[in-house]
């Protein structure tokens, strides 16, 4: 079935829930305004289930309602994993066989972003969700530069380490800092190194759109929920030109 609707408690009922704040004092008119917004967003009928004044002149609303929109799952565009998921053993064996040396990975949080949680989850031995990080892979040589690394430092280190791949994590998204930083990073690598010498550029972070790789000038974007194993498998796929 490729055409679907939201599901409340009956197939096809189209029910959704929504919460938001309006900068107005709570009264009848405010409640009407909330319903008007829900209507304009396509909820019809919209059922105002909760309205609560907050502070000076704000009201919080919860609205349930029916939407008539249909979703065609055939027309959804996503980046499906286009490489096989390998075990750590398989990753190591493939690198050994194909590359005959260790694969060099350099990782960093760039710009003012001080949140190393993402890069550490992927790189640190500790890993995440029960999966060990890339440091655990014997055939991967990992340099974790930590937080607030400048783009020139990253390029320099990548060059020194003869990086096969550069992993950049961006968590802070205020004023689209993650997008700006990523563009600056990919531009710097393009400028510093000729196409054949450029490491594979990978960015990750919870707020990236995986479809934006081309636009940001990187080879791959990993979004929320990515595990070290997926990254390792991708590295093997992209850098050893092999699927096994």
């Amino acid at each position: 079935m490729s055409i679907v609707r939201p599901y409340g408690d009956t197939t096809g009922d189209g029910m959704v829930q929504l919460s938001f704040t309006l900068p107005i004092v709570h009264d009848k008119r405010a409640e009407g305004a909330a319903i008007q917004l829900a209507n304009k967003m396509g909820m019809d009928p919209a059922l105002l289930v909760h309205a609560k004044p907050m502070g000076d002149g704000f009201t919080f609303f919860v609205v349930y309602g029916k939407v008539s929109h249909l979703v065609d799952t055939e027309k959804v565009q996503v980046v499906e994993r286009d490489f096989p998921l390998l075990s750590a053993k398989e990753v190591n064996a493939t690198i050994k066989r194909r590359l005959r040396r260790r694969l060099n990975v350099v990782g960093a949080c760039i710009g003012t972003d001080a949140h190393t949680v993402g890069i550490d989850a992927i790189l640190n031995l500790k890993g995440i969700a029960g999966e060990k990080g890339l440091e655990y892979y014997s055939e991967l040589s990992v340099t974790n530069m930590g937080a607030q690394v400048s783009v020139p430092d990253l390029v320099e280190t990548a060059r020194e380490q003869k990086a096969d791949a550069v992993l950049v994590s961006q968590v802070v998204t205020q004023r689209d800092a993650h997008l700006q930083n990523t563009r600056a990073m990919s531009a710097a690598f393009r400028e510093a190194l000729p196409a054949g010498k450029r490491p594979l550029l990978i960015v990750g972070g919870p707020r990236f759109d995986e479809l934006m790789a081309g636009e940001l000038g990187v080879d791959r974007i990993f979004s929320r929920g990515t595990t070290p194993r997926e990254v390792a498998s991708y590295l093997v796929h992209a850098l050893t030109g092999s699927s096994s």
């Binding site: 919460s19 938001f20 704040t21 609560k52 907050m54 502070g55 000076d56 704000f58 919080f60 003012t112 972003d113 001080a114 949140h115 190393t116 949680v117 550490d120 640190n124 031995l125 500790k126 930590g146 937080a147 607030q148 802070v172 205020q174 004023r175 800092a177 919870p206 929320r224």
Partner: protein, 518 residues
């Protein structure tokens, strides 16, 4: 509070003795070194203010000029006040400006009488700065007396972080009206690695607002208004951490901030700041906080965001004991120790709530007179805001059951967005429900003798003692270099800010340290 965990007082004494033994070499290190930021803090207290047209503070320009001529090892007080005397410039900021233009040549006087004259002048000038700190402390005490403290414990601690001080102010006031007892203004990402304190009111920050003297002043004044309106004194918190921790401590003292985040190892582990730089800056900033009557908040919660909260529970205890030792050594009293810990155990783990209770109660009983700071879940907040709100409710319940002093309000949108107005409202509603509903439940909450909670607390304390023994044997700097705390490895000869550290020369003089240790 009567003991609920039946901790063996001998083990507790051993743990404290080991913490002191592990910490003492670090104190010795701090006493024999200075840093650019310590010296800049001295100059700030002596009255240097403002910045050049590029925004570089005059304290930085002055310290750099002194350092270029005579190095840092004598301290800046003597060369600076010697130069004031020999040039006849009587305004220290003017001297800084002239020095920045290359018009002053600094040296250390060799005659005894010159030296003692210069030291007296330095002491007078910095004494005026300390007098401001003292006045602010008296002012706080007066306001608390008049307006009163929050009615309940834990105090409710809320974060504001818009990047724009003029947006922060109404948000902070609204948060206070909605029930917050403590407002923390999160700093802009990246400020910890700036080797200068920005100047003036700021409206541009990333995920937070710059800590500046003017921002401190504006926010304190606004909260004073709100405190009067509410009839309770609303406390203000900022961060004495990063490369400028001593200066920020001094500014906080002069602008009557009430609490400062100030951990002994956070900068080393999480910002890769050089360990020696951190410990030297740390000691000075804590001495200032002690004088200013500021409550420090330590950062043990952070260890649990990188390490596993069950496996690493004892590292929190060890860090709390070390933080306590360093704090006492610097003159802080127990009521000023907001030792940190956090609700970070994986909620999928069976008995996770019971383990949280055991850990929280252990901290409570080890530090009965400290206003412990209880930090909400972050690591296991997934973006499922409904589950997040439930976790925060359980976090609040632990806070109520174990008598925590300061409760940082958890946001169900942690890891999703910087808190929205409605997120904060929902979070406060959660806190109010739990604290009111639970009431004095802590009176009835007495873990079974020899039961799971007691056993777990004893086990964690035992592991903490083992680790402290290892730290004493290896030395603390080695432990940090080897990644004992929070997994990160930080050798003493690496990290940011190392070039701003200098060993004391014979005759090093710091009038502020002298006054604070008197």
């Amino acid at each position: 509070m009567a003991s609920k965990l039946d901790l063996d007082p001998r083990v507790v004494r051993t743990a404290r003795r080991l913490a002191a033994k592990a910490g003492q070499p670090v104190v010795d290190l701090a006493r024999s070194h200075t840093t650019v930021s310590v010296e800049r803090a001295v100059l700030r207290l002596a009255g240097v203010h403002g910045a050049d047209q590029d925004g570089i503070p005059w304290v930085n320009r002055l310290v750099d000029a002194v350092r270029a001529d005579v190095g840092l090892g004598h301290g800046v007080a003597v060369p600076v006040f010697h130069a004031m005397r020999s040039t006849g410039v009587d305004d220290i900021t003017v001297l800084a400006q002239k020095a920045a233009a290359g018009a002053i040549r600094f040296d250390v006087p060799s005659s005894r009488s010159d030296l003692s004259f210069v030291k007296r002048a330095a002491k007078r000038a910095t004494g005026a700065g300390l007098k401001i700190v003292d006045r602010r402390r008296a002012e706080r005490e007066r306001l608390i007396k008049r307006l009163g403290d929050p009615q309940q414990r834990p105090w409710i601690y809320l974060i504001v972080a818009t990047g724009d001080i003029y947006e922060d102010i109404p948000q902070a006031q609204a948060a206070a009206r909605a029930g917050a007892d403590v407002i923390a203004v999160i700093r802009s990402t990246g400020q910890s690695l700036l080797d200068y304190v920005p100047e003036g009111a700021t409206r541009e920050g990333f995920a937070g607002t710059y800590a500046t003297q003017e921002n401190f002043r504006l926010m304190r004044a606004a909260l004073d208004e709100t405190s009067k309106e509410l009839g309770r004194y609303v406390r203000l918190t900022n961060y004495a951490s990063g490369l400028c921790m001593p200066e920020i401590a001094a500014l906080a003292g002069m602008e009557r901030l009430d609490m400062m985040l100030n951990d002994s190892m956070y900068g080393i582990l999480f910002r890769d700041i050089n360990p020696i730089r951190t410990f030297v800056d740390q000691r000075f900033s804590r001495q200032v906080h002690a004088r200013a009557g500021i409550i420090i908040n330590t950062g043990e919660d952070n260890y649990l965001t990188t390490a596993d909260a069950v496996e690493a529970a004892h590292t929190v205890t060890v860090s709390q004991l070390l933080n306590e030792f360093f704090a006492h050594e610097a003159g802080l009293e127990d009521w000023q120790l907001g030792l940190g810990h956090a609700f970070e155990i994986n909620p999928e783990l069976p008995e996770s709530f019971r383990l949280e209770l055991a850990h929280a109660l252990l901290a409570r009983e080890l530090f009965p007179d400290a206003p412990l700071k209880w930090m909400p879940p972050t690591k296991h907040m997934t973006g499922d805001v409904f589950r997040g709100n439930l976790l925060d409710g359980f976090f609040n319940l632990v806070g109520a059951l174990t008598g925590q002093g300061i409760l940082l309000v958890g946001m169900m949108t942690e890891a999703v967005v910087t808190p929205w107005l409605s997120d904060r409202d929902i979070a406060l509603q959660n806190v109010r429900y739990v604290l009111t509903g639970a009431g004095n439940l802590h009176e009835d909450f007495v873990p079974a003798p020899g039961g799971f909670i007691q056993q777990r607390a004893h086990a964690v304390l035992g592991e903490a003692v083992d680790l402290l023994e290892k730290i004493v044997d290896d030395s603390m700097l080695t432990a940090i270099a080897e990644g004992t705390f929070g997994i990160m490895k930080r050798p003493a000869d690496r990290g940011k800010g190392l070039d701003g550290v200098a060993r004391h020369e014979d005759g090093y003089y710091n009038p502020v340290t002298e006054a604070l240790e008197a």
